[in-house]
């Protein structure tokens, strides 16, 4: 299966390891990965701040990049959410609709078009799972506690298949980490307070590793943990799966 890997702007710059791990993992699973996708950003940062006009350019470049492909995979839930839900209205013509149709978040892609491969691997650690809100309630890639759904979903399944891995139960399994893009800058105190509370939930349950399919949540939690010297290793789901199945 020919797959384009789309690397969102902040992943490219701040968490390239998540993109590299995605690439390696997909190739290990037999995908022929194309790296010709060169649009830096889907427009989400501007779009979420209400600056719709400013988002159009990036969204259009993005949709144009996606045009030649049948499947585009992104290691980010919130960007995938933006592409799927906002590109059709941001981009004129049918390029936006096409992009929305072919773009998948990594775990979603593994569980969907790739038919959920039997990943065999070992990761003997206590792991806390953080599903970004846009993946969780936007893409419905995890059960929402408000809807009385158990914390299931593709990421859950993928982690559950690994030997030795213990998923720690959390007091508030689907509480927001407080990043929220421009929110982290516009409401810094609140954003950090929320992040700290998430970290406390992980550490009180003796998690050693924090895993997320959203590099943005990871980066946010990481800078707060590092300031407060919280001993938690943060990993993108691709990094974890790549390491476990090595």
């Amino acid at each position: 299966m020919r797959v384009a890997l789309a690397v969102p702007c902040y992943v490219d710059q701040l968490r390239p390891s998540a993109a590299q791990a995605t690439l390696v993992l997909l190739e290990r699973l037999g995908c022929d990965v194309n790296l010709a996708f060169d649009a830096p950003c889907c427009g989400q940062p501007m779009s979420n701040a209400g600056a719709v006009a400013a988002a159009r350019g990036a969204a259009t470049t993005w949709a144009t990049s996606a045009r030649p492909f049948d499947v585009v995979v992104m290691p980010s839930g919130s960007c995938t959410h933006h592409v799927r839900h906002h590109l059709p209205s941001l981009v004129s013509g049918d390029a936006g609709t096409h992009a929305a149709r072919v773009t998948y978040e990594l775990c979603e892609f593994l569980a969907g078009p790739l038919g959920m491969p039997q990943l065999t691997g070992r990761f003997a650690h206590r792991v806390a799972m953080h599903l970004g809100c846009h993946a969780q309630r936007g893409l419905r890639l995890g059960g929402s506690s408000e809807l009385h759904q158990p914390p299931s979903g593709p990421m859950h399944t993928l982690l559950g298949a690994l030997d030795g891995l213990t998923l720690v139960p959390l007091d508030r399994p689907d509480e927001c980490c407080g990043f929220g893009g421009s929110f982290a800058i516009g409401e810094p105190e609140l954003s950090v307070a929320m992040g700290r509370d998430r970290l406390t939930d992980y550490t009180t349950h003796q998690a050693e590793v924090l895993v997320s399919s959203d590099p943005s949540c990871l980066l946010h939690l990481e800078v707060i943990a590092s300031r407060s010297a919280v001993p938690l290793r943060t990993m993108h789901i691709a990094e974890l799966l790549e390491e476990a199945t090595r």
Partner: protein, 466 residues
């Protein structure tokens, strides 16, 4: 308390300065959210939400017709129905009724609408004493504060603080903070106000067009005590509270209490459709901006709100910033989409007081797409030139940068180098002070760790892309 000109970020930061209190507030509301989770864990819950949403949409689509039907039936049963275009008209109508009946003391039971219209201070200026009779409302009234939550108006008060307030205002023993003892003292204090009032004012949870009846839900029964003893009963209600039928009411009552407090039903659900013999009953139907919202197709469903407060309890922002940080009668996620409709300029920070996590949308029993409307308000702010601070310019430039792969790659390299330098500098003594002035690091986070190489630089070096 929220001051004019102070936006949500500043008010939230002030609330968070007392982190122990902020944590306690967060826990108190999370406790209510968990009770809601248990009470709504029914096989038919999603069907009920769907029905709740549909019955409100139906009522809003026939608003004028249903209100007239309500008026006709209520009038036929001897209720006097008044119409008020705005807060000023509402207050004037109420004062007129009270003056005609020579009322000196009013016992009021929870009504966010009278808060919206500023009725208390309006009547007090006229020499009329208004006593809020629900415990939480009474606490904030004694403290000269507005409610900080729409269902739990005094949720921000700790029991020790209430003890001190009651000691000062009601003469309870100093240091008394047992909830039972305080409630007992309040009961005595309120009984006097309730039994000796010349008029009772209540809100309403629903107006049923089919019956011409008014439905009031409370847990303390004070609304009932007031309306059953005073010679005059005035119901102050927003026109969006109308529903078509008693069947609709059945759905509404099932979703309301469960979402609000996690109870299957509120302790007292009272239908009033006619005045008591010898007494007078008035219903004041208030618009105050509601029909304007009805005309706004993108925001219309905000009128479906049944004021259960579930979105407040679930909201990680509301829980950690308190009701006053919103600077609006209705706080929380629903307030953040209602307030901009009243005055976008004054409430410009509210649509941004959210991470768009979506919890409010999933918890709302009438399925209002709150996150979607927050986003739409952000867009409108941008169009109206009301984006906070320098956002407009920053995002215009960012948008340009992020649409061009080459300039993005160049700027990314510069930014990463800068970040790496800054992060290293952090460890030089003396720069810790500087950290406090940097809005990124000030609240307690480091600068991001920037890698030497971006993904695309690596891919090029590895020969994966030309």
């Amino acid at each position: 308390m929220h001051r004019q000109g102070v936006g949500h970020p500043e008010a939230a930061a002030a609330f968070l300065r007392d982190d122990e209190r902020a944590a306690w507030h967060d826990d108190a509301l999370w406790f209510v959210r968990q009770r809601r989770d248990r009470a709504t864990d029914l096989p038919e819950w999603e069907a009920l939400r769907e029905a709740g949403s549909a019955l409100k949409a139906h009522a809003m689509s026939r608003l004028a017709e249903l209100l007239v039907e309500f008026e006709r039936r209520a009038t036929a049963s001897g209720v006097c129905v008044h119409w008020a275009r705005d807060a000023a008209e509402h207050n004037a109508v109420v004062r007129g009724i009270l003056r005609d009946a020579k009322v000196k003391r009013v016992a009021k039971s929870k009504s966010m609408l009278t808060e919206e219209c500023g009725l208390n201070s309006f009547l007090e200026a006229d020499g009329i004493e208004v006593v809020d009779t629900d415990l939480g409302e009474r606490i904030v009234q004694l403290a000269h504060q507005p409610p900080s939550h729409i269902v739990l108006p005094a949720i921000h008060w700790k029991k020790e603080e209430i003890g001190a307030l009651f000691h000062r205002e009601m003469g309870t023993p100093a240091g008394e903070s047992s909830p039972d003892a305080l409630a007992a003292a309040a009961r005595v204090h309120l009984r006097d106000a309730l039994l000796n009032a010349d008029a009772a004012i209540t809100g309403a949870n629903a107006l049923v067009a089919e019956t011409g009846g008014v439905v009031v839900c409370t847990n303390e029964g004070n609304a009932d005590l007031g309306m059953h003893s005073a010679p005059v009963h005035i119901v102050c209600v927003g026109i969006e509270k109308i529903i078509a039928t008693l069947d609709d009411l059945g759905v509404l009552l099932r979703i309301l209490a469960r979402s609000a407090t996690g109870q299957p039903i509120t302790a007292y659900t009272t239908h009033v459709s006619a005045p008591r013999p010898g007494a007078a009953m008035h219903v004041v139907l208030v618009d105050n901006g509601r029909t304007a919202r009805l005309a706004d197709a993108d925001m219309r469903s905000a009128l479906h709100c049944i004021r259960c407060g579930a979105c407040l309890n679930t909201c990680p922002i509301y829980r950690r910033s308190g009701g006053y940080s919103y600077g609006h009668v209705i706080p929380g996620p629903i307030g953040a989409i209602l307030a901009p409709a009243v005055d976008l300029g004054a409430h410009r920070s509210l649509p941004f007081a959210s991470t768009l996590c979506g919890s409010c949308g999933d918890v709302c029993p009438v399925k209002i797409d709150i996150p979607g409307q927050l986003l739409t308000w952000r867009e409108r702010s941008a169009t109206a030139g009301a984006l906070p601070g320098g956002y407009a310019t920053i995002f215009r430039q960012l948008g340009r940068l992020l649409s061009r792969p080459v300039s993005f790659a160049r700027a990314g390299w510069v930014a990463r180098s800068a970040l790496r330098t800054l992060r290293t500098l952090r460890f030089i003594p003396g720069t810790r002070v500087a950290r406090r002035w940097n809005p990124w690091t000030r609240p307690g986070r480091d600068l991001p760790l920037a890698p030497r190489e971006s993904f695309r630089e690596w891919a090029r070096r590895a020969g994966r892309i030309p």
